[in-house]
Amino acid sequence: MLRITDLVVRYGAATAVDGVSLEIADGEMVALVGPNGAGKSSLVNAVSGLVKPAAGRIEIDGRSAQVPEGRQMFPDLSVDDNLRMGAWRLSRNARDTARIYELLPELVPLRRRRAGLLSGGQQQMVSIGRALMARPELLLVDELSLGLAPLVTEKLVAHLRRINQESGTTILLIEQEVALAFEICARAYVLEAGRVVASGDTATLAGDKALAAIYFGDLSTGAEEDER
């Protein structure tokens, strides 16, 4: 579905992504984790076409859509209009939002509300719905749980799983909560300073004590760390 070869992204003199290669098969759900500034967002922004790569190749098998970091609502538009805008690239007939309300029924009572007035969790739901409006085969999610309550995150995760399993949408998930990312995804890439430093099964990665200690803190004590 997605093949990235030797991708380099630069902003002026700063190199954000420094020769990353990765591959995601059809229908997979893959996590992209790593510390702040590792180049995760730059990578998905390059896939979305928001930033031009300095070098390397990105091959996508179909349409992609992004759930951007910070939700990025159109604050003055209603929820329904936000959703419609997600299908801007498609024909007018493809802008019917009914499909999204079936997938994300929580949005039904909010459809006429201004998106700028919603809670973070509601906005994230709209953001996912808006991305799905583009009928993507590949969904890029940049920070699912950031700033959201655990219960809200749980709901969103359930939706993502269903989207992945029922419609076969391939998902690349950036998630700062590594434990959560590893729980949802079977496979992951670990990015640091613009390079892939580890990849493979999340079960194996989570068991790698050295890696865990360096990049995410000890996963088994993740809960305690949250309380600090």
Partner: protein, 286 residues
């Protein structure tokens, strides 16, 4: 009483054209954050193109249509120049449009001369309205302006292009993600600004002596109306334009003097002082 009504109606008609020009400011500003001072030029240009076509034998209707379309095309051109470089600060863009409006004066003089455009009203004759005798053309301006404002509101609320223009203005990054071209939306807004200014000019030219030098006065009056609406609200802009037009007409009617431009400037200053905080917040929100 009938004198009062006469001044009121003729003031409303002049005010309606200010409001149309002001709506052009609002549409362009809402989408691009640029204050476009060629709004008055669009009106003068459209008025002159129409007058010259019709005096040379083009039938009514077609002449007006060509005048409005010409203003729309010039609006597109102004947009293309102003938005040519991404990230141009809005105040630099404002100066560019001011410069272009001076260029516009020169172009109108070169094409048509510096005298007022000949009066060729779309509808001639005098209406007897509530015991007041007033040119049909003036009533037409009021009617057309009201329709235009309803169309603008429906455009932004009910059409995907209108929604996309709002989206591009409120969150350019997200707009690019879903494939909305910020540049195209900006160009579309300038084109609409041109069309609105054109409509105002074509309708107003037969009633007021519009010459190449009228553009800045019209722009100020339209801008004052738009500032009344905080540069974002079409309906308040309509109200602001009408208030300005009526106030100017009353002063002139009761022979206090012809102070239309001064009135616009005074209203502008008052609104800016009173609403300085609200306007400032908007700028910060961007």
């Amino acid at each position: 009483m009938s004198a009062f009504l006469t001044y009121l109606l003729s003031g409303l008609s002049v005010g309606a054209s200010f409001a149309l020009i002001g709506a052009g400011f609002v549409v362009v500003h809402r989408v691009t954050h640029v204050v476009n001072f060629t709004q008055g030029t669009f009106a003068v240009l459209a008025g002159w193109v129409t007058a010259s076509l019709i005096t040379n034998g083009t039938p009514h209707g077609l002449g007006e249509l060509i005048g409005v379309i010409a203003a729309g095309a010039v609006g597109l051109g102004v947009g293309a120049v102003t938005l040519a470089r991404r990230g141009t600060p809005p105040f630099v863009a404002l100066l560019m449009t001011l410069g272009l409006s001076f260029l516009g004066v020169a172009v109108v003089i070169a094409l048509f001369g510096d005298h007022p455009a000949p009066s060729v009203p779309l509808v001639s004759g005098i209406a007897d309205f509530l015991g007041v005798r007033i040119e049909w053309q003036r009533l037409l301006i009021i009617g057309v302006a009201l329709v235009a404002f309803v169309v603008i509101a429906l455009f932004f609320e009910r059409t995907d292009l209108g929604r996309a223009m709002t989206a591009a203005a409120s969150n350019p990054r997200a707009a690019r993600l879903v494939g909305i071209s910020i540049r195209r939306m900006g160009l579309a807004s300038f084109t609409i600004g041109g069309l609105l200014g054109g409509i105002a000019g074509v309708l107003l030219a037969p009633m007021q002596q519009l010459s190449a030098y009228s553009d800045l006065g019209l722009a100020f009056s339209g801008f004052a109306a738009a500032v009344f609406g905080g540069l974002v609200s079409p309906w308040l802009t309509l109200l602001g334009g009408l208030v300005l037009g009526v106030a100017g007409s009353m002063l002139q009617g009761y022979e206090i003097g012809s102070f239309q431009n001064q009135l616009s400037l005074v209203l502008m200053v008052i609104v800016m002082i009173v609403r300085a905080k609200a306007l400032g917040r908007q700028e910060e929100a961007k």
